[in-house]
């Protein structure tokens, strides 16, 4: 006897994700990952000035703001032969690093924590016990005071007493698998609020250079923000000092608050290192923030962390890091509402076509899976050499580990020893969440120890050049040029691909982390990573279908970003034939 379960909306993610499940008793037997939004941005970019493209494609996502813009300008620069000065690249690297840290912190506290933390329970906690608990788990965060914990408890209590539960309305608070004691829940809620304040503060690193956040401004050929130590209207020592402070704040929060919290909370849910395994295949072009224009093996761009090379790990075999070959990427439309012109099952990104052809039921609908044509999502299914791949913090951490990155190894080994797990157990719900925390530490440290100091040292040497004007004018471009770029962003491996003809965008394509992860079945029926993590072994728990807490934990461990996942390109440049308003 199987029961159908629908989770829609799947909340605390970016965008719109629907999960359909079949359960067998208390475990999940089948799963379908269904993306329910489509916007068509790459179609819209066609025919426009390639120097404008970043502003359009940046709007693919406001959570991972900046990253699509940077991938876009890299790809355009790669195509037209523009060579941004080192300081401009370092500025982009700093923006990427601050974005990556902010994104991971927001994910852990504001999107993922309520899967593990029971908020109402915090109202019953003894505030002093919360202070003591924080100390016990090694949290040295400055917010761990009796006054603070008392105030937060009173706030939670006030909300509960009012009977209006605001964002906590309908939470699964009586679910039997919330395991933290009240004082731990109180500490976590306090840190949830602290993290809100933290992210507001540290995101200003990007604002100095891009003028706003979300959606800061970028520039093909460099950066628009000028730097000059002797001018009040340029970025000078005033901003350098501010950034130094914000970076110090960042490393403090990550070390004193985020990492201890993540380690402690996962330690209470150790069985989640056995739950949620997806395909043990991993792809990354380096550590978080790694950036390449064109093929990584031949890129002009230096990337901030050169120690870890691009690579592919297959079947969980960390002893062999395969060379990464971009030409082995193909996207399947077997389960997605698109058609390929000649009926191909898969196309490479540089040849990709996305012609939306919705064949599902007219909304409102109650069930999508099992349609005659097998289609149930707006998300294509990328494969590498035929394999479904995991991208993101776990893939990068394993790649760094496999290549002997010392700090990553130290953090991973420390956690593995603490939990008594072997490395392969990182392929799990808890493992992905742990990898994100580990990566947040290394990203913050590299920003503080490497990228920012290099930028300042260059400034000291008088290097204030931030713009390559030689390729600004379209008259300096070839009549036809193609370029692409890979960037390791918060959720994983991102690539943008562009072809420019007669000064206009002719083709545009993005292959996005969440597409790799949230895509559905390919032509062989093999599942995508979300689906595999839920239904791969038939053992994923789901105690009460009305309270799907367990699958939420697993899906959130991937940090879904659905707007990113759904991109479209019609390479023929034809309009899509959909009625407009």
């Amino acid at each position: 006897m199987s029961e159908r379960v629908v989770i829609d909306p799947l909340t605390r993610i970016e965008g719109h994700l629907r999960i359909e499940l079949e359960t067998d008793g208390s475990a999940i037997s089948k799963a379908w990952s269904e993306t329910t939004q489509f916007r068509g941005i790459e179609t819209i970019v066609q025919g426009r000035d390639p120097r404008d493209a970043w502003a359009f494609v940046q709007r693919i996502c406001g959570v991972c703001t900046s990253v699509h813009a940077i991938a876009s300008i890299n790809a355009v620069e790669n195509a037209i032969g523009s060579n941004p000065p080192e300081q401009a690249r370092l500025i982009r690297d700093m923006v990427l690093a601050s974005q990556a840290v902010q994104d991971h912190v927001i994910h852990f506290y504001h999107l993922h924590a309520m899967d593990w933390v029971n908020v109402p329970s915090a109202a019953t906690a003894d505030p002093q016990a919360a202070v003591d608990f924080a100390k016990k788990i090694g949290s040295t965060w400055k917010g761990n005071t009796l006054e603070r914990m008392t105030a937060v408890r009173d706030t939670v209590k006030g909300i509960l007493d009012s009977g209006q539960l605001t964002i906590f309305t309908g939470g699964y608070w009586d679910h039997p698998d919330y395991r933290l004691p009240p004082e731990a829940n109180l500490m976590a809620v306090a840190h949830y609020l602290d993290a809100l304040e933290f992210q507001r503060s540290m995101i200003r690193i990007g604002t100095v250079f891009g003028g706003k956040n979300p959606h800061p401004n970028f520039l093909v050929g460099g950066m628009a923000c000028t730097i000059d130590p002797d001018k009040s209207e340029s970025i000078n020592q005033v901003q350098v000092d501010q950034i130094a402070d914000w970076i110090a704040e960042t490393t403090e929060f990550v070390h004193a608050c985020y990492l201890p919290d993540a380690l402690a909370i996962l330690g209470v849910y150790p069985d989640y290192f056995e739950i949620g395994a997806a395909q043990p295949n991993y792809l990354a072009v380096g550590m978080s923030g790694a950036t390449f224009a064109g093929a990584p093996s031949a890129s002009r761009l230096t990337t901030p962390f050169t120690q870890v090379k691009p690579g592919v790990i297959l079947d969980g075999d960390l002893s062999t890091v395969h060379d990464f070959d971009p030409s082995k990427i193909a996207e399947y439309v077997s389960s997605a509402w698109y058609t390929y012109p000649d009926g191909e099952v898969a196309l490479a990104p540089d040849k990709g076509v996305t012609d939306p052809a919705y064949t599902g039921p007219t909304p409102p609908f109650t069930w999508l899976a099992g349609a005659d044509d097998g289609k149930y999502t707006w998300c294509k299914a990328p494969r590498y050499d035929g394999h479904a791949m995991q991208v993101g913090p776990l893939a990068r951490v394993l790649l760094a580990y496999a290549q002997g990155h010392a700090r990553t190894k130290e953090l991973v080994d420390g956690a593995a020893t603490r939990y008594g797990i072997s490395l392969d157990k990182l392929n799990s719900t808890a493992g992905r969440t742990l990898a994100r925390a580990v990566e947040c530490v290394t990203s913050a440290e590299m920003l503080a120890d490497s990228t920012f100091p290099t930028f300042v040292a260059n400034l000291k040497k008088g290097d204030i050049d931030v713009f390559d004007s030689s390729r600004w004018e379209p008259s300096s471009w070839p009549a036809e040029a193609s370029g692409f770029s890979f960037v390791e962003v918060a959720r994983g491996n991102l690539s943008h691909w562009v072809t420019i003809k007669d000064g206009k965008v002719d083709k545009y394509q993005a292959v996005v982390p969440t597409t790799w992860l949230a895509g559905g079945r390919d032509d062989t029926g093999a599942q995508g990573p979300y689906e595999e993590s839920l239904a791969g072994n038939g053992k994923h728990p789901l105690v009460n279908p009305a309270q799907p807490l367990e699958p939420l934990r697993t899906i959130h461990s991937f940090d879904p970003c659905m707007s990113c996942a759904v991109h479209v390109l019609d390479v023929e440049g034809t309009e899509l034939g959909i009625a407009t308003s």
């Binding site: 939004q37 009173d154 604002t207």
Partner: protein
Amino acid sequence: MSYEPNGWQEPTLGENLARAGIKRRDFLKFCGGLAAVFALGNQATGTAHAAPVTAEQIADKLSALTKPNVVWLQLQECTGCMESTLRSGGTTVEEIVLNLLSVNYNELVMAASGDAANKALDDTNAEPHILVVNGSIPLGAGGAYCTIGGKSAEQVLRESAEKATAILAVGACAVWGSVQASKPNPTGAVGVDEIITDRPVINVSGCPPIGEVITATVAYVLTHGDLPKTDAEGRPLFAYDQRIHDSCPRRAHFDAGQFVRTFDDEGARNGWCLYEMGCKGPSTFSACPVIQWNLHTSWPIGAGHPCIGCTEKQFFDRFTPFYQTLPDVTGFGIEATAQEVGWGLVGATVAAVGVHAGVTAARRASATRTKVDPPLRAFGDSTVWLPTPTSRRPAHVDDAPAPKTTDEPGKAE
């Protein structure tokens, strides 16, 4: 600097007010204007034909009442508007979701998913509530381009709007459709006020809007018990009554004819005017220079990039190519350049712009521009690009200020 939660600590508003030392008399006064927004039941939804209620009755009801319930939808969008809300340093998001309001439905931050989330939405929709909308509504493919809980974005919006006492469209997508509504608008995306046509929709434009502007719009409604005054586009005057060009700290360089000619040139390092680099500040209504971004850290022009005009209608079509200067519009390129590019472009009377030495230089600069791409023509000669003087007049053209005004738009707090 640290945020100290100071929550709704008593069960009812009356008790909370008493706790905060608010006098009944002051509360009664406040109640006079409150009925339109707070959830008072059917008889006091603020419509003209509603049965009259006294401030005393309102006060009694309100005293027993709780926080306004809120549905905060995210339709076809990128979540940038919620991220901007998270970054607000005025009224913070934690004050909004924990203290000021009961945000019973918002997909980004709410605990519940699936059926429990849909129940929270249905329950809140069933009673009067405040509705905030991020994202556009795609009308193509029978609504299949954006579905939530199996329903189309249009259906979700209509159900949530039915009993809403105030509707705020937040962000360029909710206001006009933004990037996905740009040509060729593959999904048929439209803004909220093209679906909800029987009531006022407050349009908080921007891609995204400044976080402080988003939260201040909500706080404005709570503070004043009424919707904010708006311009003809439905944008709150407190944040959209002036063009960037009017409050731009670089305005003096425009007037003096000091322009950045190439990114990273000497002028750029000196903070000169970005008009020649394509700045859309002269045609963009926003308080960016005043409020700035991310705790007053910087703002786009302050960080050296031209304004791309993201608070304006269909800026992805009308303001592109972004790095091309504003086109020749009536009057531009003649002696009155500064004024015409100033208030003249939106048809207002400029009160007191002197004739600057820079005008000649500006004209000379404009004369050196070789050609203007066709898309830019659109907003030079189009009747829809910016409102005509008469269409904008009711809002704020009547008292079009001199370019330099001392009145700051209302701050977030």
